[in-house]
């Protein structure tokens, strides 16, 4: 959550910490690669080089490898970063990770939650449930320390021979030619050159690739400072997201409390803009503040950091043959879990497109839709997180007055509760995309073209329980026709998988929820993209309209 933040100061983990245990487990050795023995003129050439083995780079590499691509993945460190960074992973991210084979490990370790509460002073104003309905494989959110997520992703990478993960490989130079880039990479054995058809920069908020393409960006810098403390304690608080405006233990500012695995709690306190970071970060100054919040002193610090943040994005996510994803391309404030989750959405959006372009079965223009779709999503995330931040830190007396009015009205009105903005949590964007075919039938509901698929229970036979997202993975995580039986099935275009609901050989809509969530009638069909987004939908498709929708979705017209 704070990978996008400017860390002003850090205190090392204190006392007995699971972080240091995780560090030793997550230490990786540098190994010399044969590519390093080649002369510059004879530099090795690879189809894709991903720079940065964080959650985004790792997930992208796995997705590409599962689609059959060979990937070189470079990271400048030799271990997984410790400390307080992303903790909230969304349902959408978990569904992506299910496709990569790591979803269950994440959920098994993570803390599942869907309820958030907002307090003003000592009293609760509002409670929300991010997934109030049944029939989904994955919860609204899990909380999981980023280093666990990365460790599970690295384990998965190590099962895939197609990924060549090189630690302590730091990109220090980039030369772009017409159809490839030449990277200069520094290692403990000295520098070497690599040629890549495509480079994907997942190298974080301080992306060096971004500097190398000359695309540094400006954005809105928020003046308020926030203090993050991860503390270890045995506590009976429920696994909910608690947010306070003007709490009794931290007058005039906001505070957040959230549970992580291993009895670790994330505490986020808004400080005054003129607070001195050197003084604020001292454990002896942090401790009484948190003791007031918790009502006791039985906790140990895992991590303390102070940060400010910016909301900004690159103007273009694609610079020649260098593509930017995650924090390298866009940064938001942490309120809303829109940092890591939006980076993962970048990865799932890019992987199938890059795979098709590398295979030569889609034109390079397909990649432009990555920028179109994901930059619009970045704008949405920036807008949402900026609004949350503005609400927490009003920038004028009148803004403060309006906020005061909202908080006060929330005590007795429904609309006031709904106007309180303590962070609007990440949901998948709906793409206004050149790849989508506009509806021409009439629909009362269901995910429209550009929206992500909705999960629902299905069954292969009576008594069986599975989910639509699982059926999508079984079908091969490729273009898939989700069709609702109507006697004669439509012959799908080549390479398109089929999930049939109902009929003689179809899956059972056991709970009736697939039909409801997709506004389905017999004959209804949805064309799903390999990232699980809806490309087109029809009441009674003919082969010709399916062919046209598929061609559009793969960037052919």
């Amino acid at each position: 959550m704070v990978a996008d933040a400017t860390i002003l100061s850090r205190a090392p983990p204190l006392g007995q910490s699971n972080v240091s245990m995780a560090q030793s487990r997550n230490q990786f050795g540098y190994r010399r690669h044969a590519d390093q023995d080649r002369s510059g003129a004879d530099a090795a050439e690879h189809p894709v080089v991903v720079v940065g083995a964080g959650p985004v780079g790792l997930s992208l590499a796995i997705d590409l490898a599962q689609r059959g691509q060979s990937v070189v993945l470079l990271d400048d460190a030799d271990r997984i970063g410790e400390g307080s960074r992303a903790i909230c992973f969304s349902k959408r991210s978990l569904e992506f990770w299910d496709r990569l084979g790591v979803g269950s490990r994440m959920v098994d370790k993570g803390v599942v939650w869907s309820v958030g509460k907002i307090f003003h002073g000592a009293s609760q104003l509002y409670q929300f449930n991010l997934l109030p309905e049944e029939g989904h494989k994955r919860p609204a959110f899990i909380n999981l320390q980023q280093f666990y997520a990365e460790a599970y992703l690295v384990d998965r990478v190590q099962q895939l021979a197609a990924i060549d993960l090189r630690w302590r490989n730091r990109v220090i130079g980039l030369e772009q030619r017409n159809d490839q880039s030449v990277l200069t990479i520094e290692t403990p054995d000295g520098p070497y050159l690599l040629r890549a058809n495509y480079v994907v920069a997942c190298d974080g908020a301080r992306s060096s690739l971004r500097q190398m393409v000359g695309a540094e960006f400006a954005g809105q810098m928020f003046e308020d400072q926030f203090l993050i403390a991860d503390v270890k304690m045995a506590a009976e608080f429920p696994t909910e997201r608690w947010f306070w405006f003007d709490p009794p233990f931290h007058a005039g500012r906001s505070a957040l409390l959230h549970k992580q695995p291993d009895d670790i709690w994330r505490i986020d306190l808004q400080l005054h803009p003129d607070a001195d970071p050197a003084i604020e970060k001292r454990p002896e100054n942090v401790r009484p503040r948190i003791a007031r919040m918790l009502g006791h002193e039985k906790f140990d610090f895992e991590w303390i950091s102070l940060y400010k943040f910016q909301c900004r994005r690159m103007e273009k996510f694609i610079h020649g043959r260098v593509i930017f994803a995650g924090d390298a391309a866009h940064q938001v404030s942490p309120f809303g879990a829109r940092g890591a989750n939006s980076g993962l959405e970048d990865a799932e959006n890019l992987a199938w497109k890059l795979d098709r372009v590398l295979r030569g079965i889609s034109p390079e223009a397909l990649l432009a839709s990555y920028h179109t779709e994901r930059s619009a999503a970045a704008d949405e995330n920036i807008r949402e997180s900026t609004r949350s931040t503005d609400f927490m830190a009003p920038s004028s007396r009148q803004e403060a007055r309006l906020r005061k009015a909202v908080l006060s009205l929330a005590k007795e009105t429904e609309f006031g509760k709904r106007m309180i903005n303590g962070g609007r949590l990440s949901v998948p964007s709906i793409y206004d995309s050149p790849l989508s075919t506009a509806d021409f039938d009439s629909w009362r509901g269901g995910p429209r073209p550009g929206a992500s698929m909705l999960d629902a229970p299905v069954a292969a036979h009576a008594g069986d329980l599975a989910f639509l997202t699982e059926a999508f993975i079984k079908t091969g995580t490729r273009f898939t026709l989700l069709e609702f039986a109507n006697g004669v099935a439509v012959d799908p275009p080549d390479g398109v998988g089929v999930i049939r609901i109902g009929g003689k050989d179809g899956l059972l809509d056991a709970a009736g929820l697939v039909g409801v969530r997709y506004d389905a009638e017999p004959g209804t069909a949805y064309l799903l993209r390999p990232d699980g987004y809806v490309a087109a939908r029809f009441r009674h498709p003919t082969r010709a309209v399916l062919d046209a929708a598929l061609a559009r979705a793969v960037g052919i017209n």
Partner: protein
């Protein structure tokens, strides 16, 4: 235009009076608090973003008018001096 600017109250003076009286005896800061709450309550009652935006634009034109008027007055004062 989604915003209605025709006269909607049978007795407009009563409506104006009701708002004025709500502010009687309040300090400027209290009045500003009252207005902030009132604007939010009324905006929610309208429940139409287009109407709200038009209302904001209509109100904002007062600011423009006021600053133009001020400028004209300053220019006039300058002329008078000359």
């Amino acid at each position: 235009m989604a915003l209605s600017t025709s006269s909607n109250f049978a007795k407009p003076d009563d409506a104006f009076r009701a708002i004025v009286e709500a502010h009687r005896g309040l300090s400027d800061a209290q009045s500003a608090d009252l207005d902030a709450a009132l604007v939010l309550i009324l905006a929610n009652h309208i429940g139409d973003l287009e109407v709200l935006r038009e209302a904001i634009a209509l109100a904002q034109r007062r600011m423009v008018d006021a600053s133009q008027q001020q400028q004209q007055q300053q220019q006039q004062a300058q002329k008078d001096l000359n």
